[in-house]
């Protein structure tokens, strides 16, 4: 009797406090798992930073000479000459994370099917929605934010290095600091990443994600060839290239996100036009398409097993 009531109270106890795992905890651990599996997410951008800094370290030795010859140039060229390495550094890091993002998205829902581990992941109480949203957030959210942080840090290190070198050569760093308006540059960068890399590019990554959940092999070809085929057919049938220009606008950021064509997005001469960007139909249509593609990817993951 006694043992029975013990057993009873024990089982009541374990029922009384149902162990709970919050949805945010599941998202957190899903994110950890992505970073464990795809270390390129941070290793590749960090390597780009290291390369940029290594190259800059060599070129910065010639900086005092360059600064002495600056007054001969007109103000616009002076500015260009000083800013060029900073823009190049930003560009290098951005291109790296874009490539990482594309290849991550193309493998995200494909790799787990190919190595059969999808059966392991599906044996745990994590919904397809959580999994797909976590995977989508890596190229759409995490990589752009990481890019901003890395570029700002890199540019700051470059600025400090330049200052040290100039002071060592007995020159003033005032011209440098006045041309490289660090905070404005960081703000513009943040704006560019937020508008173009996050909001404007979202449907591209969602398309890649959907293809990675659907294709049985050659995800890159399935992601790239069908849109190209549409372009070809349109060109042959109607001799127009609306779809092609749509794709190009989507990839380059479009006029809405790049108000001054030909200028780099970090150019301090650029004016931010968030108003124009936020009312552009391209932004909202793109986000609707992205949501639709994601919903399809979530549904698809429910049906898909190992390849």
């Amino acid at each position: 009797m006694n043992t029975q009531s013990n057993v009873l109270s024990e089982s009541l106890e374990s029922q009384a406090i149902p162990p709970v795992i919050s949805p945010s905890q599941r998202v957190y651990w899903s994110m950890r798992r992505e970073l464990w599996e795809n270390r390129s997410i941070y290793i590749a951008p960090l390597s780009a930073v290291a390369l940029v800094l290594f190259g800059f370290l060599i070129s910065v030795l010639g900086l005092p000479h360059k600064m002495r010859s600056l007054p001969a140039l007109d103000p616009e060229h002076q500015r260009r000459a000083i800013l060029a390495p900073y823009e190049f550094a930003a560009g290098m890091i951005m291109v790296t994370t874009l490539i990482v993002g594309v290849f991550y998205a193309l493998d995200a829902l494909y790799g787990e099917r190919r190595d059969r581990s999808i059966l392991f992941w599906k044996s745990l109480p994590v919904s397809d929605l959580t999994t797909v949203l976590t995977k989508a957030s890596i190229p759409i959210l995490i990589l752009p934010l990481l890019t901003v942080a890395l570029i700002v840090a890199t540019q700051f290190i470059m600025l400090v290095l330049s200052t040290v070198i100039l002071m060592g050569a007995g020159l003033s760093a005032a011209t440098l600091w006045s041309q490289v308006s660090f905070f404005q540059m960081s703000l513009l960068l943040f704006y560019h990443l937020g508008t173009v890399h996050i909001l404007w590019h979202a449907p591209i990554y969602c398309w890649f994600l959907l293809v990675s959940g659907w294709a049985r092999r050659a995800t890159f070809l399935w992601a790239v060839l069908p849109p190209l085929a549409i372009c070809f057919v349109e060109k042959i049938a109607f001799n127009t290239s609306h779809f092609a220009s749509l794709l190009v606008r989507r990839m380059t950021g479009g006029p809405e996100a790049m108000p001054l064509p030909g200028r780099l997005p970090m150019d301090p001469g650029m004016h931010l036009t968030p108003g124009n960007f936020l009312v552009s139909p391209g932004l909202w249509l793109g986000l609707i398409v992205a949501a639709g593609l994601l919903a399809a990817a979530v549904r698809l993951r429910r049906y898909r097993g190992p390849i």
């Binding site: 599996e37 190595d115 059969r116 059966l119 392991f120 599906k122 109480p125 397809d128 049906y303 097993g305």
Partner: protein, 290 residues
Amino acid sequence: MACIEARGLRKTFGATVALDGANLRIEEGRILGLIGPNGAGKTTALNAILGLTPFQGELKVLGRDPWTERDRLMSDVCFIADVAVMPRWIRVSQAVEYVAGVHPRFDRAKAESFLARTTIRHTSKVRELSKGMVAQLHLALVMAIDARLLVLDEPTLGLDILYRKQFYDSLLNDYYDRSRTIIVTTHQVEEIQNVLTDLMFIDRGRIVLSCTMDELESRFVELMVHPEHVAAARALKPMQERQVLGRNILLFDRVDREQLAALGDVRTPSIADLFVAVMSPAGQAKGAAQ
């Protein structure tokens, strides 16, 4: 309460019928062996139970529809699909951390103590482990989960006999507590004969035999008949007859054991022999007539 209840479970892949209106009911606290030839629909049935594949018909697992509620169901259900599903890139420590992070019923200390009994190192990646070690790791993770249903689909495939024995030993000694339900499919039926409480044969998408192991002992008798009684034994309508070392062995369903004992040596058939008998055309005709 029934752990699993299915009525008219049907699943087709194009023209192939994997499940052909299967009916089954599995009570809680049983260890069920689901046995069938290749392509009989075992894995499809398990996939439907686990919410991995859509199906037609009615199916409730622990009161839930597995297809629409997979993620919630997986708080109470564990499965080992086969030995090769652990992601190869993951470290042992990461696997433990991850499951602890997402599973409400995972007892980390328990998993660690299971792992401590093996030679698996925490810093190893799954790809560096042997097949047997990966199975041990997966089992350690699963046994540390306080689940109500455990599904094992060919869990010991490709493992050597030592690992296989150890696998079922730990399952029985460290995991099974009579409130949990375990479903196992395997081709190595002899190895699980003593583990099971229930037996189910599946063939061509249908359940052709479903009984408890106690029923099996009382229902089925294998008779190694004395040569002079062969005709008399055959008159009792055996399910199947085969010859081993020149002696006739007949398998009977629901025939009085005393009566048979007079004709030769009687014993309870092994699952493997019963399986062969039931799957043979004659056995199936009898099964269908029931």
